[in-house]
């Protein structure tokens, strides 16, 4: 890549980058899973870690499984499904005698494909993969078996043992996987957002001086939205201009945004609205903490300013951002095209941080998103209500989310949901920084905010799987200037009322 900077972008580069990007994109087709291979000694490291923690549940603690029928599991495609097939599943099959068929799926089709099977009662899948936003819906419809029920039936440690097993997981994430006090799924992929930025630019003395002269306050990592807008505009420069004391070979933009017609645009908007203290729709609880209903808050002043903030940020984003999703946004930082990705999912850190290997002298860092309330959530796995082999499925879920499973996930660059893995000193070293360097920051944000975000309508409404799409459409209309901000939000409010009325669990309350 440095070669490209020296000689300019050639035709060969164009072909090569297209091909490489196509490969990378398919590899990160799962929710931000990095496109790099497992290290050769991953198995060895996992085995050592497991041996050093004999008290934690691991493969050897799975009892004799009586039902030997094959199980079919849905997992996000990418390195994780590959690793399962080559490393974890053979061990599981050897131990239990239960064969496992893996159905790899990209996360953007996961909901619809599994939902069709569940509605058709085909029994096609034993183990389901679910995003936090559709756990309430599937739980309410009885599509997923409650974990306590499974533990009572198949696990000698019973409900207490399962409660103990779930303790190392982030409490906020577990709340998202719980419906009416019953956990239905165990999280394994934490996608809390962070502000990923180029420290070599934001911390450069010349840039700091120039920024202070221009804006009248010091250049720091943005913590507020007005600051973010200023820093983004400041680093938007044309090829030939200087950045960090060197002339730019290509245009540099302040921010990468996921402004395409995908659901992630809603996650960016949400982080801004929540960061400003607002909401799309607010969950109202009674004195006993029982959900009474939802109050639609849009289009209030906060949501309108949030949308205007996004539009302002777009001015400092590459024009192509209008069609981007998370792989492209992360890739923009990796390719040295942007100074910041303000609402990047932390499980994409290995992609954004790869800028350091591609452009020597650069430095990637991660901080809390401006406003301090990132979009947070997780992907989890649970047992389908119509599983052919619920016993095998239960032990598979427990094995996959065990210390051993999450350790393997972390080694591959995934963002685990167990604190005992995330905070393991092994991952805090400089050597692991480009793979696991976002863990410490991610832990702070997940701990600080996840429990609150779990109470949002996003994670309590049984219609959220459907409302989510409408939020994204409204956001896309706003950024594409197809509609003015207020009417677009007004229309969205009506849609939320409609969908919640048609498919939701709780009523819409008058504000």
């Amino acid at each position: 890549m440095t070669g490209i900077l020296r000689r300019g972008f050639t035709r060969r580069d164009a072909w090569r980058t297209s091909a490489a990007y196509a490969t990378g994109l398919s590899a990160v087709a799962g929710f931000g899973l990095p496109a790099f291979a497992q290290s050769e000694d991953a198995d060895k490291i996992v085995a050592e870690m497991v041996a050093a923690n004999p008290d934690k549940f691991n493969l050897s603690k799975i009892p004799e499984v009586t039902n030997k029928d094959k199980i079919t599991v849905v997992v996000e495609s990418g390195f994780w499904s590959d690793y399962l097939k080559t490393a974890m599943i053979p061990k599981f099959t050897e131990k239990t005698g239960v064969e496992v068929e893996v159905v790899g799926m990209s996360t953007n089709v996961m909901y619809a494909k599994q939902q069709v099977e569940l509605l058709g009662d085909t029994g096609g899948y034993d183990v389901l993969s679910m995003e936090a936003a559709y756990v309430p819906e599937w739980a309410a419809n009885g599509f997923v078996k409650p974990l306590y029920e499974l533990a009572t039936e198949y696990d000698s440690e019973g409900v207490d043992g399962m409660a103990e097993y779930l303790k190392p997981f982030y409490a906020g994430l577990m709340t998202m996987m719980t419906y009416e006090n019953q956990p239905y799924s165990i999280p394994y992929n934490n996608y809390t957002q962070g502000l990923h930025y180029r420290a070599d630019l934001l911390e450069h003395p010349e840039e700091r001086k120039a920024f202070a002269e221009k804006y009248g306050y010091p250049l720091t990592v943005p913590t507020t939205f007005p600051q973010l807008i200023d820093v983004a505009a400041f680093f938007t420069r044309k090829a030939g201009e200087n950045a960090a004391g060197k002339p730019l070979e290509k245009d540099l933009y302040g921010v990468a945004l996921m402004a395409g017609r995908n659901e992630q645009i809603n996650d960016e908007f949400s982080a801004i609205i929540w960061g400003m203290g607002g909401d799309w729709f607010r969950s109202i609880y009674d004195v006993k903490g029982v959900l009474e209903g939802y109050e639609i808050t849009i289009p209030d002043r906060i949501s309108i300013v949030a949308a205007q903030t996004y539009l302002e940020l777009l001015k400092s984003a590459p024009p192509a951002a209008m069609s981007w999703d998370f792989p492209e946004a992360a890739n923009a930082m990796a390719e040295g095209q942007v100074a910041m990705v303000p609402f990047m999912f932390n499980n994409l850190w290995p992609v954004t941080a790869s800028v350091e290997t591609k452009f020597p002298g650069t430095r990637a860092k991660v901080a809390t998103v401006p406003g301090g309330r990132p979009y947070t959530g997780a992907y989890g796995i649970g047992v389908a209500h119509n599983a052919n082999n619920p016993e095998g499925a239960y032990w598979f879920v427990k094995y996959l989310t065990s210390y051993e499973g999450q350790m393997a996930y972390a080694l591959g660059g995934g963002n685990p949901c167990r604190r005992d893995v995330v905070l393991d000193p092994f991952f805090q070293t400089e050597e692991r920084r480009l793979t696991n360097g976002a863990y410490a920051q991610n832990d702070l944000d997940t701990m600080a905010w996840t429990y609150d975000v779990a109470k949002k309508g996003h994670f309590t409404s049984t219609a959220m799987g459907k409302i989510y799409s409408e939020l994204a459409i409204a956001c896309a209309k706003i950024v594409n200037k197809e509609a003015e901000v207020e009417p677009a939000l007004q229309e969205l409010a009506a849609k939320i009322v409609d969908i919640q009325g048609r498919s939701g669990n709780a009523k819409i309350l008058e504000s």
Binding site: F9, R11, D13, A14, W15, T17, S18, Y21, A22, Y111, A112, Q115, V116, L119, N141, A259, G260, R261, N262, P318, P319, A320, A321, M322, S323, W324, E335, Q337, G465, K466, S469, I473, A476, K477, V479, N480, K481, E482, I499, R502, S503
Partner: protein, 318 residues
């Protein structure tokens, strides 16, 4: 076709004539009775038609009058879904986008396909290779094609923008600029489906009689006159058939959008099928999804019927 003589009135041999009268509804009786036998031959096809076309269509029409949101049971809803569809701005916006897509894509494919077919209908060096290459886009899966095009269109590393910049033209946001995103998607469809038109028209050109063209040549008719007054009228039925096939196919466009714009930027490339998919397979509101589907079906039926009438006229004229 010569009628099959009835066995009951024309005995074939004395042995059969002496046999006791066979029931008309016995297997042999049905086979030997022309009036029944012709229906018997149609039964397998009819079963398929009923199971795969008529039943689903009737089911869709019935469902369009129901409130049917899975997994809840269906209840009668009268015209509620239809009222919703007719009043839904998103539906009409998507409908307009679909019509634009169909008219431009099919129109360009027909013109371009016919021109290329005329070119290929000559003898030239490497003709077999060129004709063979033309079929390649047809064999690629539309979704895979759309992913490849997504990369070709990319403004940062896409080959198309590289070429544009190399010849001094500005970079184009093919998929991110809402004013051109639909045309970029149409271009993919044209690339993929023009070969179909090429081969159908090419086959038609090959089958044309030589005499009228020789006569026109002797009379000194220009190439344009010959094309307009001879070739075009003669291949018109084929063009109408291919137009009909492509129109129906283009109305169903979904996979190209899935791999490229996903309906965006904003809703600028959102087509009817995209909307139906969302309502049916994301929201699982079968009532509304089928109401939209039935409405689209009716519109496509009317358009197909118009083309069909033209086809009949063209066949009669030939």
């Amino acid at each position: 076709m010569q009628a099959r003589p009835s066995v009951s009135t024309v005995p074939t041999d004395a042995k059969e004539a002496m046999a006791p009268a066979r029931s008309r509804w016995s297997w042999r009786g049905m086979v030997e009775d022309d009036a029944i036998f012709k229906w018997l031959l149609l039964v397998p096809a009819l079963i398929f038609m009923v199971a795969l076309v008529i039943y689903p269509t009737v089911f869709a029409v019935v469902t369009s009058f129901q409130k049917y949101i899975l997994p809840r049971p269906a209840t009668f809803a009268g015209l509620e879904n239809w009222r919703w569809v007719v009043n839904d701005a998103a539906f009409w916006s998507a409908f307009l986008t679909t019509v634009k897509f169909v008219v431009i894509a099919v129109g360009v494919e027909l013109v371009l396909g016919t021109l290329i077919a005329l070119f290929l209908n000559r003898e030239f060096r490497g003709q077999t290779v060129i004709r063979g290459l033309c079929i390649l886009p047809l064999v690629a899966a539309p979704f895979a094609t759309s992913l490849a095009w997504r990369h070709l269109y990319n403004s940062d590393y896409g080959v198309i923008n590289y070429v544009l910049q190399a010849i001094g033209l500005p970079r184009v946001e093919f998929l991110a600029d809402s004013s051109i995103a639909l045309y970029s998607v149409i271009a993919i469809d044209v690339w993929q489906w023009t070969p179909l038109v090429i081969f159908v028209v090419f086959a038609a050109l090959r089958g044309l009689p030589k005499e009228p063209f020789e006569a026109a040549k002797i009379d000194g008719a220009s190439a344009w006159f010959t094309f307009r007054r001879l070739t075009l009228p003669m291949i018109k039925p084929v063009l109408l058939i291919v137009a009909m096939l492509r129109m129906v196919e283009a109305f169903r466009v979904y996979d190209i959008l899935y791999g490229t714009t996903r309906g965006g930027p904003g809703t600028s490339t959102e087509t009817i099928n995209w909307l139906i998919f969302r309502e049916g397979f994301q929201y699982f509101d079968l009532g509304r999804a089928t109401a939209m589907s039935v409405l689209v079906l009716l519109i496509v039926l009317v358009l197909t019927n118009l083309l069909f009438q033209q086809l009949i006229k063209a066949i009669r004229a030939n």
